[in-house]
């Protein structure tokens, strides 16, 4: 396979055409968001860390926060030739600590998932598949040829989540 790109915490990677693989390693409470335009084969991935900024350092790494990440990645993909109206999304991550029921202070995973889903909805991008929650770390992979999205649980096997390029309708999963 041609070009392998790792998407680190808060990073956005966008590629165009066949032959690229985007990977986010070690997703805990973070969310890996995959966006794909089947027509132009523009594929993007962002590794969202938190729902929103507490220190308000705007612009530094917009991919770090759900509220700034989605508009930023969509803009990058449109600049690469994608059409915002054709984009389809899949998300993974948002794990939580084990046995954590008392307080939700550390419930970053669930808050992240909620914020990402809301940001996608605000951008009008249908969410086609999601694999969020649980207690395991994950590695997320997307192939630019067809928008195949696969998730591997650390210590487990990889499984296919969705092929975003195969989805023709604009309907999303219930978020």
């Amino acid at each position: 396979m041609g070009n392998h790109l790792t998407v680190g915490m808060g990073e956005i990677q966008v590629v165009r055409g066949a032959g690229h693989v985007l990977t986010a390693l070690g997703l805990g409470s973070c969310i890996g968001v995959c966006l794909y335009d089947p027509l132009t084969r523009v594929a993007g991935m962002v590794h969202v860390v938190l729902p929103k900024s507490q220190t308000d350092k705007t612009g530094e790494l917009p991919g770090k926060f759900a509220d700034t990440a989605i508009p930023a990645i969509v803009q990058r993909m449109v600049e690469m030739g994608a059409s915002a109206s054709r984009l389809k999304a899949a998300i993974s991550g948002g794990a939580q600590l084990f046995q954590f029921g008392v307080s939700n202070t550390l419930d970053v995973g669930a808050r992240n998932a909620e914020a990402v889903v809301a940001a996608l909805r605000a951008a009008g991008i249908p969410l086609q598949a999601k694999d969020v929650g649980g207690n395991a770390g994950r590695t997320l992979r997307m192939v630019s040829d067809n928008g195949l999205v696969a998730v591997r649980t650390i210590g487990g096997a990889e499984r296919e989540l969705v092929v975003l390029g195969n989805i023709l309708s604009a309907s999303g999963v219930a978020a």
Partner: protein, 293 residues
């Protein structure tokens, strides 16, 4: 419970720890000197200079983007003056444990470099928390954070052999992974880490942080630093920095946030800063020539 073969395993663990490399003598001396008010920059520089490899590593770390010095530091005494004794001590410990922490830890499904990243994130987080809640031990918090999981290196092979049983036990009994290690193996990575720290003659306070980093309230004296490292560890795990098969199968001990009076926004901000500093520290992760003696 595998109680019948536990003593034998424990013997094997003790042997494994005995076979681990010693902490270089220079580091032990520097640690002692950094805590001695009579030491000065020149004498510490002289001790480090007796070890050429260590000198090179410390200078390289001092000049990395992480410390953001405005100009290149080319001598040890300059580095000690600009960064301070305590930071130099941290650099010496980081340099000497890098090779060990940078190993692949297959038992935990950690690729090469992942445990180092996790350790560094915990070190950075522990220091940030210590500063924020005004603990008088911010530099010690960094070192303790860096070494908290050193026991994983020693119990790696035992965990690899019985990973499935440990995970099954954690899920079945709804207990954190570290407790499942204890139930299946008869020991856990925190306890093994404390044995390593003792072998290295590290100060008792550091041994205690390593031993109790998953249950800080059990620490004799319940020192704040143990809670800071515990919280930093849990935040680094939550952020997914260097997590393995044990994933997020851990808990934050009740009362930790209350002890420090931290709210959700404080926690988010600490997380944000850990991520920022880890990006800056990326240069610290690539030092193939840093080796343990």
């Amino acid at each position: 419970m595998n109680t019948t073969d536990t003593p034998e395993k424990l013997q094997q663990l003790v042997q494994t720890i005995r076979d681990l490399p010693a902490l270089p003598e220079v580091v032990v001396r520097v640690m002692r000197m950094a805590d001695d008010p009579r030491s000065d920059a020149q004498s510490i520089a002289r001790v480090i200079a007796t070890d050429q490899a260590m000198t090179a590593r410390v200078l390289k770390l001092a000049n990395s983007a992480f410390y953001g010095l405005p100009r290149r530091v080319s001598t040890l005494s300059e580095a000690v003056v600009i960064l301070g004794f305590r930071t130099i001590k941290n650099l010496a410990i980081a340099a000497s444990t890098f090779e060990l922490l940078n190993r692949e830890i297959a038992g935990y499904w950690l690729q090469r470099g992942e445990l180092w990243r996790h350790s560094l994130a915990c070190a950075i987080g522990a220091q940030l928390i210590a500063q924020r809640v005004r603990l008088p031990v911010t530099e010690e918090a960094f070192v303790a954070g860096l070494l908290h999981d050193i026991g994983k290196v020693a119990i790696n092979l035992f965990v690899r052999e019985q990973y499935e049983q440990i995970m099954e036990r954690a899920l079945q009994d709804r207990i954190p992974f570290v407790e499942a290690e204890q139930a299946v193996l008869g020991f856990n990575h925190a306890m093994a880490g404390a044995l390593i720290a003792e072998k290295w003659n590290l100060p008792p306070s550091l041994v205690a942080v390593i031993q109790y980093h998953h249950q800080p309230s059990h620490t004799p004296g319940a020192e704040g630093i143990v809670f800071a490292v515990h919280l930093a560890d849990i935040l680094s795990i939550t952020l997914g920095i260097g997590i393995g098969g044990d994933g997020l199968y851990y808990t934050l001990e009740e009362g930790t946030l209350e002890r420090f009076g931290l709210q959700q926004t404080d926690i988010d901000e600490v997380c944000e800063r850990i991520v920022d500093q880890m990006a800056k520290a990326a240069s610290l992760n690539e030092q193939p020539e840093v080796v343990l003696q």
